[in-house]
Amino acid sequence: MSSGWDVVIIGAGIVGTSCALECAARGLRTAVIDPAGVGSGATAAGMGHIVVMDDSPAQLALTRWSQVLWRDLAAKLPPEAEYEARGTLWVATDEEDLAEVRRKQRGYAAAGVATEVLDSMALAEAEPELQRGLAGALLVPSDGIVYPPCAAEHLLLEASRLGAKMLEPQRVIAAKRGCVRLKNGGKLMTRHIVNACGAEATELMPELPIRKRRGHLVITDRYPGFVHHQLVELGYIRSAHSVTTDSVAFNVQPRQTGQLLIGSSREYGAEDATINYPLLQAMVQRAQMYLPAIRNLQAIRMWTGFRAATPDKLPLIGPWPDDDSLILATGHEGLGITTSLATGKLVAAALTGEKPVIVPEPYLPARFAQGLTATEVLRA
């Protein structure tokens, strides 16, 4: 065994475990290593919203494929993974938003995603706690919710059944040219290395165009039936796009337990896990604008997590041109849970040479290869 692996996956988050399952399923001798065990980073910090997003055709293709993969997986997931096809309501506040709702609907339809436009009254009926007088919403019924750490655990378990090995928790200090060096002095020889370290990916590869983008979440006590869908303001996209300033957007999710997750915030340059209280306050106030009665609910915990943001809003999936052994599976920003399943398939395809279901080019790290700055890539 120590004589070599086909692939060593660094990072046992939802992306790493998905890669492990797909690699093991293809008969590759697969190892997974993580200093903190399965599903402990952004996988444990995120919301677990399975969502089709249409910022770009490439993002739409990846999230749509992933959503279908999640629906196929749903029946096999254990109850603790709390998968529910709740659907997303993209909430419109005014006429301008409604025009965006109709534009969004056309794009989704072209990708085979059925949606429904709700007018002001239908929205109030679907979600009575929402502020009155909102313009309407786009309902995406096929979007879902999952509890990511348990989903990652399931993926790892399935991978283990197919022969993948989860190694003892250990920090990786270097990984290149087929050699993974561990903090305890250990060394793993492998044909391929998959960097699935999320926002920490730059610790092993400082040259990667990834920035940490911190987010806050609040969870309430159990209030079953307070809301029924994942509720997101259409302005979320504006917030997610702003690359210079801190921003908040209304994003509330009903958990199977009756708890509510309240988000969202985005910050660059914040590298520690502490709470930014002014930003947290703005985030909660934003939620109160949309759901006035949320102020009567009891919050029980709040925390932060780190998204792995890339300059062009697309993940880095595939070979790293400077090192034949290195494959990247990171840079998913806020869509890592959603796109983890497709990422695993793209990584396995890159390793075996098979043709994936969608074209892999838009996600290839080669677009950021040496000598090409992010601005040049965006212009290309």
Partner: protein, 80 residues
């Protein structure tokens, strides 16, 4: 002289002296407090507002820590 207070716990009348916590009234009524996500029954553990195991619904407001609230006349307490 202090007069007893009467409140209800899950609809049944309970008589306590002023200064009694709702947690004590719930125990006097022979009831437990909250139910966990997996349906396990729970009762007051720390008695000082930290553990949140003693939550009940008081006059329609859910998730109140019963060890931190004193009984008042005609209060309606419901456990899950």
């Amino acid at each position: 002289m202090l007069l007893p207070i009467v409140l209800t716990v899950n609809g049944a009348a309970v008589r306590v002296m002023p200064g009694t916590t709702v947690a004590a009234a719930v125990l006097l009524a022979g009831s437990t407090t909250r139910t966990s996500v997996r349906g396990e029954i729970r009762g007051p553990l720390c008695g000082m507002g930290i553990c949140f195991e003693c939550r009940v619904t008081i006059d329609g407001v859910p998730h109140q820590r019963s060890c931190q609230v004193l009984c008042t006349p005609r209060m309606q307490v419901a456990t899950s």
